[in-house]
Every structure is written in structure tokens, then in C-alpha cells.
Assembly symmetry: C2
Homo-oligomer: 230 residues x 2
């Protein structure tokens, strides 16, 4: 009976969740800098020091929110990929792109937390690595699948010899795929997040009336660039 360890542990779990929920709301409205433990406590009718029973520091609360954000983004991308027809790699790529963009536009502050400038003085603990790679894992899988299915045109030119050893981290994500394809995937990856960051961070203000359409067009052209059939 897990309910036996209830009473205390259950209310503790509930309060922890309430803290993170309120903190996430504050994050959405004020941004990472405006996240205040005292404000969270105030909203809960608690005294500020009580929060420290649940999170040893502000950074720890922030870490939780970061991991949650990684997971939310990763899950959105995973779902979008899974919903697209398995064999249509271009559709999967576009679905993943739009999942990233939609989530980022809907949660700009959380997106800034994970793909924006690093929070000063904050060092991401090791716990985040598992959640951090969920989105890029999906992108790597799409590229791998496309390559294995022969849906990727072979890159025209080779990757310089001296750069081969640099892509170790990415090779794990796309095993058995030639370096030229890995490079194209990395390029697409940076182009995707470069575009989304520009849009979310306001670099596209005063241009692009149809932001979604522009993004769609850019990502379609990017698919073409990396060798995906249209």
C-alpha cells in the first residue's frame, strides 16, 4: 500500500507541485529574472522561508522549471513526429519544425530558458542532459530514417578531413550515417532554432506579416537544402 506513506509525503508532493505551478506562471509573465521565491510563497499564503523546505535554493527551483521545459518541448516534437506518416520524411521534418516553433511562440519565456542566453551564474546540473536532448534526438532520427530509406540525396562534396572528429556527439544520435549527412542535419538544426530564436526574441519585429508562412517556407527550403525530396 503506497497510500500508507501518505499523509506527509502526499501533501509534500502536492505542495511541491503547487510551487512549481505558481513559479511557472510567474516565469511566463515575468521571465526568469522575475522569478521570486517570496512572491511564490506570498501567492501560496506561506512564509518565504517555508519554500526552502521544498527547494533548497532559487536555482534549484529554476532547474526544475528548465527540466520541465525541456521535457515539454521534447514531448511536443516527439508527438508531432509520431503523428506524421512514418515514410514521409519531409512531412516529419516539417511537423517537427512547426512543433518547435508553436511551442516556442506559446511559451516564449520557457523557450528562452532552454535555448536563449544562459542564465548568469546558473550552472546546469547533470540532471538536465536526459531531458535536453529529446528534441534533437527526434531530428536526428528523422535524418537517420531518411538516409536509411534512401530519401536523402547524397551530399555533393565531402566533409574536410580535419573536421571529422568534431561531430562525435552528433554521431551517437545518428549511428551509421555518413558525416556529410550528419553535417546537413546539424545545419538544419541550427537553422531551425536560429529562425525560431529570431522570431521569439523579436528580431523579426516589423517584418514578416505572416510569420508562420515565412517559417514554413524557410523550413521547406531547408529540407530541400539538406537533400530531402519535396
Amino acid at each position: 500500500m503506497t497510500a500508507s506513506r501518505s499523509a506527509r509525503e502526499r501533501v509534500r508532493a502536492e505542495l511541491t507541485k503547487e510551487i512549481t505551478d505558481i513559479a511557472r506562471r510567474q516565469l511566463a509573465t515575468e521571465g526568469a529574472g522575475g522569478l521570486s521565491l517570496r512572491a511564490v510563497a506570498r501567492e501560496m499564503g506561506m512564509v518565504s522561508s517555508a519554500i526552502y523546505r521544498y527547494f533548497p535554493s532559487r536555482d534549484d527551483l529554476l532547474t526544475t522549471l528548465i527540466i520541465d521545459s525541456y521535457n515539454a518541448l521534447g514531448e511536443a516534437v516527439e508527438r508531432a513526429d509520431a503523428a506524421a506518416p512514418q515514410e514521409d520524411h519531409t512531412a516529419r521534418w516539417l511537423a517537427a519544425c512547426h512543433a518547435v516553433r508553436d511551442w516556442a511562440v506559446a511559451h516564449p519565456h520557457e523557450y528562452a530558458l532552454v535555448y536563449g542566453s544562459p542564465v548568469p551564474g546558473y550552472q546546469a546540473p547533470q540532471d538536465t542532459v536526459a531531458a535536453r536532448v529529446r528534441d534533437v534526438t527526434v531530428l536526428g532520427r528523422i535524418a537517420s530514417d531518411a538516409w536509411r530509406a534512401g530519401a536523402l540525396r547524397t551530399p555533393a562534396e565531402e566533409v574536410p578531413q580535419e573536421l571529422e572528429e568534431g561531430v562525435e556527439g552528433f554521431r551517437e544520435l545518428m549511428p551509421g550515417v555518413p558525416d556529410g549527412v550528419i553535417w546537413r542535419a546539424v545545419t538544419a538544426w541550427t537553422a531551425l532554432y536560429g529562425w525560431v530564436s529570431f522570431e521569439v526574441f523579436g528580431q523579426f519585429n516589423h517584418s514578416f506579416v505572416d510569420r508562420r508562412g515565412a517559417f514554413d517556407h524557410a523550413m521547406r527550403r531547408m529540407a530541400e537544402t539538406i537533400g530531402l525530396a519535396q
Copy 2:
């Protein structure tokens, strides 16, 4: 004689510069969030309230630093472009790219200020627009020059009709250039800053031993993508 209005105005100008210098140093070490008026005052041997004689608020000091950063980046890009052979558009593009990256790597916090997540609660005043577009103006000019010189391969496919009106802001930067080329320039622009942001913000940690070489290769391939001759 401008020296007549000296005494006060001169010491005021000097103190203002000293404040921004110390603030910039703090920015470089602590980041935007760690910029503290009191710390600046302390380092100057002043009392904190005296700073407000020179900058009405922390945001105003930050605005000055942002404008300075825009100008420093823009100037670096302008110089790099000017140093490259006028007719070699690929060389100019690569020089501009490396100028952006070199400056960003050397001044990560200042780069974060202008191309990272927006500072929460901070609204960029109108004064920044002049400095903000210096770098992208150079990129636009390279693309325009390349187009006019016939060094850009014509885009294979057309820009969808419904997206044409969205690129107004960019058309000013590249007058007389067809929309397909503008699109390619915008794509290259986002790819450039997407890559630099990934590198500066730590997304490339644990991959890419030779960061500069990887960046160079990526930007060369991007030049190829937008139709520049190799």
C-alpha cells in the same frame, strides 16, 4: 571655444564614461542580470544615489551598453567587409561571418544582450534602431552587390505570392533585388546568427573540437546554398 563649457561638463563626461566602462566590465564578468548600480558606485568610490545624476535608471545604463554593443559588433562587421576584396563576394561574406563570430566569442555577454533572450521588463527605446541594423546592413549590401555583379545564381523556384508582402523591412536593405535573393539573404542571416548563438550559448559544448573550422565550413556551405560561387 568649447573648453569654456568645461569644468563641470568635462568632468561629467569623464564620469559618465567611467560609469559605462565599469558597467561594461561588470557586464562581461557577471552578465546583464549581475549589473548593479551600487556595485558600480562602490567601485567608483561614490555613493549609490550619485549614479542617478548620470543615468536616471538601471535600464538607461543598460540601454547605453546595448547601443555600444550594437555599434561594436556593427563596426567589426563593417571593417571585416571593407578589408575583403570588393569583388570577391564569397570572401566578403565569410569575412563578415567570422567578424560576427569572433566578436561574439570575445564578448559573449554583450552578444547575449543584443542577440540573446530579451532582458525581461526591458523595452528597447527608439535610439537603438540606428545602431541595431549596422551588421545586417553589411550583409544586405554584400548580397546586393553580389546580385548586381551577377555573382549570385538565380534561385530555382519562386517565393510564394502570399509571402511577398512580408519582406518589406528587408527590401529597404537590398533595393532592386528580387525577392528570391532577399529570401536567401534572410536565410543566410538567420543561419549565421543561429550558429553563433548555439556556440556562444553553449549548445555546442561537448561537440566540435575545432569550433572555428566547423563554423567556417558551415558558412562556406551556406554561401553555396544562397548561390554564391565557391
